[in-house]
Amino acid sequence: MRYIGVRYIIALIIVLVTLWLVLSGYFNKPLLLWLGSASVIFTIILTIRMRIIDNESVPYFNLFRMVPYLVWLVVEIWKSTIIISATILRPDMVLTPRLIRVKTLPSSGFGRALFANSITLTPGTVSIDLDDDEVIVHTLLKEMTNRGDFAEMARRCAIAAGEKEPAF
């Protein structure tokens, strides 16, 4: 029997109850509240039985570290969207696509998933393959192949995923 973290179960219960209340919007109908608690209890029993309660399925403890990262990410998305939009709207469009390998990766699984998703979210760079020690990235313009930018993003991802000392 694997150890099941109680704090994950409590966090999951809180999130599920909040989700039900937000989506239904009725606080004074006893029938709906009973149905909601039944659904929450059923979901909790299922997740415990499937043994998927861990930091990956209940990532809400990373939430407070995620907020500054998301703000930084939105600013980066804004900057690169302006560049890509200007490129698309020019009548004589000049593209310099490149396929590069990024070797700097966060060490935890959550950090890697966050890193690859962030690369894809930023217009101009798309992660097209993820391997054990590298990400293959397709970039639309050669200005976006700067290794330092990717290392900076990987460092911030590692911090947001809760790693103590990023390796770079």
Binding site: L19, V22, L23, G25, V74, I77, W78, T81, I84, S85, I88, L89, D92, M93, V94, L95, T96, P97, R98, L99, A116, N117, S118, T120, L121, T122, P123, G124, T125, V126, S127, I128, D129, I136, H138, L140
Partner: protein, 120 residues
């Protein structure tokens, strides 16, 4: 006292309209890019504009428009779902094309010089 409320409401609706308009413009730019770019891997980048900044601006504008209600919470949920699923779907499409052996066009892709065209 009532004056302030009226002005605040006006500013709120103006901000919401401006944000939604910016989002719709970015969405249009992304669609033009999907139609215009020459290569599949290049079109992904244009579709990414729709997935990120247009979504942020449109949903942000709608949240500002609806104020602190249940609707704005639901809109925030929509935004969270789109933010979680859209990069995964984009990566899945790109990875499937890569695994199937579709080669990207690399190097420099530029329009032909006017003197090289037929009518130039």
């Amino acid at each position: 006292m009532i004056e302030w409320g009226v002005w605040l409401d006006l500013a709120r609706h103006g901000l919401a309209g401006a944000m939604m308009l910016a989002g719709a413009c970015f969405m249009l730019i992304g669609s033009i890019g999907v139609l215009r770019l020459p290569d599949f891997y290049a079109r992904i980048h244009a579709a990414g504009i729709t997935d990120t900044l247009a979504t942020i601006f449109l949903l942000g504008g709608m949240i500002v428009e609806s104020g602190l209600t249940q609707t704005s919470a639901k809109l925030a949920l929509v935004g969270m779902l789109l933010f979680l699923t859209s990069p995964t779907a984009t990566h899945a499409v790109a990875n499937a094309a890569h695994k199937a052996g579709l080669k990207p066009r690399l190097g420099t892709i530029a329009p032909p010089h006017p003197r090289d065209r037929e009518d130039g």
